[in-house]
Subunit: 576 residues, 2 copies
């Protein structure tokens, strides 16, 4: 019964792949899950620390959310879990309110996940998925670059073992100046060694003779952070490095993640709401762009509202299992897809494997130096710090370039969330600015053709008595007055003017302010014995204008083509 199938698929998208599941797919999914958790374990713990939380919460954050997304989400390979930028946003939201790592801080992180989940879920249910578009690409990019820079700097404190603040760069530099003298040299050596390991060992795997020995170097490169974790744990354990003051991860409780509602009250909710909204927005932007790319490749449709709902429920899942906000991770999704995951079951398997790790292997990680985790974050995040996009964007569009720099300095000089808001607002202002200064051109006929072009760019025919002009923007209140001012100026310069023809080929909508401006213009021009004409009005615009006063009282005519208008008017003028 295909009918029942399709109904089931709407409620549970997973039904589409569950009913075709096979042992072959099982093997592929399981292999992929093993590879992904080699990345996920160190990343999860590191991102938890980045968020100011105990490392175990990073493992918890990779369990229930991933299972939920697997069954509801639209992308088969999207890997949901802790992500550096979201963790940094969590820290930026919570650290001004509570002491990082304290019980109330941990509860607040869960509450934040619940709120992020609730916001995403409701936006999805009420089909507000389009809101994602409020953030432009340059702002997102700049936000990610600036955040990556801040994240890398925030890890310096673990490498130096001194308390540094890193909500913004001035703060970081001040505290570095103050505390640099208290650096623990052993920690520093360990940290720098880890960084060098993570940077240079992967380069070894590019060498030909090593490539010959190992068959799957790409996978090994991905597992290097896990190898480093293992090596450093062994070193701490056998060399008793803790006695040199090298700090390690605290005791990690083993077991299933606790399943409970976080503590909350109205005041907390109100305090966390703005941060939650920003996190929901960024996590959706990140997740959707990854999901869209994979959806297009599978030629499957993707409903952005369904994605919001899935992401929302995943975050609610994070909130009730003692973890923090999650989203789709680009790096793990790519590895998941490349290593052959066939269905979302790969995600489910990696969740199950993480449960095994949290049940039996947490004891290991107690000897893990914090400087090593910091090094993994710094190396992985530093790749994002890249200034080429700034140059590229600036070259293509000044407005987008400005928005990028505004966002960048907002993030690094104030803080991550404020910077983002400033960036978003700046794009709106720049958009309104652009709309308010439309390109208006006086046009003339190119000899021997029916084409009209800008008089300033082309050799064209014009007439003193007929002014032909084109405006390259939809007419709104933002530019109605610009058009009027342009015409006032033209009329004042040319005393012989008898006809104004506005070419509407670029106009897809005329709002009421612009309509009234045109009506006024028509009235005022006709008092001066100047007729107003329009040409090439589009269908949908004409539909709306048909019943307006403008066309009823128009002193001139509406022409199908601009050529026809100018020809007709020239004939009329000759006859008179």
């Amino acid at each position: 019964m295909p009918d029942q199938d399709s109904r089931l698929s709407i409620v549970l998208p997973a039904w589409q792949w569950l009913r075709h599941y096979s042992p072959l797919k099982f093997r592929a999914d399981m292999l992929s899950a093993l590879i992904v958790i080699a990345m996920l374990v160190p990343q999860g713990m590191a991102y938890a620390i980045l968020a100011g939380l105990p490392p175990i919460t990073g493992l918890y954050a990779s369990i229930l959310p991933m299972i939920i997304y697997a069954f509801i989400g639209g992308s088969p390979t999207l890997s949901i879990g802790p992500v550096a930028i979201i963790s940094m946003m969590v820290f930026a939201t919570l650290s001004p309110l509570y002491e990082p790592g304290s019980p109330v801080y941990i509860e607040a992180a869960c509450l934040l996940a619940l709120l992020v989940g609730g916001i995403s879920f409701l936006l999805g249910v009420f089909r507000f998925g389009f809101l994602i578009q409020l953030i432009s690409h340059p702002v997102i990019k700049s936000f990610i670059i600036a955040s990556a820079l801040l994240i890398a700097l925030s890890q310096v404190k673990f490498v130096l073992d001194v308390p540094l603040e890193a909500n913004n760069i001035p703060q970081f530099l001040l505290s570095l100046w103050e505390y640099f003298q208290f650096t623990n040299v052993y920690t520093l050596i360990f940290g720098i060694a880890s960084i060098l390991f993570l940077i240079y060992v992967p380069k070894l795997f590019c060498l030909q003779f090593i490539k010959k020995i190992f068959s799957n170097t790409a996978f090994i490169a991905k597992a290097l952070p896990l190898a480093l974790v293992g090596i450093s744990i062994a070193m701490v354990y056998f060399l008793n490095l803790q006695s040199y003051g090298i700090k390690t991860v605290d005791e990690i409780p083993s077991g299933f993640p606790p399943f409970s509602m976080p503590f909350w009250n109205t005041e907390m909710v109100l305090q966390l709401l703005p941060g939650a909204a920003m996190i929901a927005m960024i996590s959706f932007v990140e997740s959707l762009s990854i999901a869209q790319a994979t959806a297009l490749q599978k030629r499957s449709d993707l409903n952005s509202n369904q994605e919001l709902i899935a992401l929302g429920l995943a975050n609610i899942g994070a909130g009730v299992t003692a973890s923090f906000p999650v989203t789709g991770s680009l790096s793990r999704t790519v590895v998941n897809a490349d290593s052959g995951a066939k269905t979302p079951m790969a995600g489910v398997f990696s969740s199950l494997l993480i449960i095994v790790v949290s049940l039996y292997f947490t004891g290991f990680f107690q000897q893990l130096p914090l400087a090593v985790l910091a090094a993994t974050i710094m190396v992985s995040i530093w790749k994002l710090v890249d200034f080429k996009p700034f140059i590229e964007t600036w070259r293509y569009s000044r407005a987008d370039g400005i928005a990028m720099w505004v966002t960048f300095f907002g993030v690094i000089c104030i803080d991550i969330s404020t910077g983002l808001i400033i960036g978003i607002i700046s794009t709106f202002i720049l958009l309104l600015w652009r709309i308010s200064r439309p390109h208006i051109a006086v046009i003339g006929l190119i000899d021997g053709t029916q084409y009209f072009r800008n008089v300033n760019r082309h050799q064209v025919q014009t007439s003193h008595e007929v002014l032909s002009m084109r405006i390259d923007e939809n007419l709104t209140f933002l530019n109605a007055n610009t058009l009027k001012g342009f015409l006032i100026s033209e009329v004042s310069q040319n005393k012989e003017l008898k006809h104004v023809v506005i070419n509407c080929s670029s106009i897809s909508s005329i709002d009421f302010s612009a309509l009234e401006m045109l009506e006024d213009l028509n009235t005022e021009l006709s008092r001066l014995d100047i007729q107003l004409h329009f040409s090439e009005i589009k269908g949908p615009v004409m539909d709306k204008l048909e019943h307006s006063h403008l066309l009823k009282n128009l002193s001139g005519k509406v022409y199908f083509s601009h050529f026809q208008a100018v020809q007709q008017l020239a004939q009329d003028l000759q006859l008179n």
Copy 2:
């Protein structure tokens, strides 16, 4: 020396008419000034009371500002001075902070005028005149209608002689309920009689036999409020009406307006700044639209930044002569123009006449009942309360209609300034909303032509292998994702698709977010062996795209016309 002339004209626009001044023009200007002050004296006093200020300040507000505008402003007939809406905004700004009529309130009103002037002046100097366009016509209209309603209601307290609040309608109704019982019947009768006089006496002048007796009935109708003022003063004086509890205008000091800087401190300036910004905006909108209409009729150009500077200096003039913010008055400008004013000198003469009034005639007005002034305000302002624009706007555009109602309810339910801000913000949101939901159509060829039209509206030819589409909006971050989602959906529905051709005839700009979206789309579609093509890209758009990755890596081609694209692709497909 024309060169020196034109240089002088830039600094002092007045030079253009001053050097051609003649006795004939003098007579015309003087006559017009006499007619205008017949309106100005009662209006000035009434609007001063509306602003919560002593009536004399309304006369002061008509002196220096008018002289300043005459010499700097661009419109020869614009009459600058107190205006009802601006006075209401002054009251809305100041009354929550200070006791209306108190010395500090009066000082604050002068300071407000200085701030309004300073803001306008600076915006003009830095060429920010385009900012005026931030307010759409429907919002302005709705703001004026709602404010007129509130202004009319705010005068009820003088007619009933009870203390009523009228910052918004709920407040008004509550205080009316509370105080209605304390109404002074004599005042009420006087007020109602005045209202009836002002409504019905003008109608008498429309009767034929009266028209025969008086030659200039239009002028007499304009002078009726002044006549009413005279009659009521006489009645109060001879019938000793003050003993019946009819309140009159307080003692009015005679003399020149005092010339001094108002008292100010930083805290006051910061408190008044937002209100000053709103007043500056509205006064500029009002003034510019009047000035533009007159400029067009005289076929003279109008520089909106010069207007801002003139209006700014006029308000600074108001601030240092013990008055309050001013702007161009539509009613007085119309009378000024109709009664034959030839040059801005008419404004100068009316200022001089007002000085004569403030020097020698203020004693008269001490017997003027407040109820009469209230009646003149109510009758003149009530004409503005008209709901036709709401219906008209709603019919043409839902978005503009919504913005109108939002503004209206904002003004009448909260207060005049907050309502305006809410209205302005709502237009931005609605504009962004519209941009984010562009009209996207799959198009097909109309048989036997070269025209492509929407497949849903017309009988057209399409192909399974070539998807033709058109988007009727500039591509920005707000709609890039909508276009991508549309294509993902089309690709998922049609497995035979080989070519996508995007018709760009409606696209006048592509921002960086949209460019990246198109680049991603190109990459992702080419992995599916679908080629992306563009047709009818406009010159300015092409200029920017030329050096982009998009065109370098485009899987398909750019075609001059859509017809050419589709024809070429159909041939290619047949060959394969």
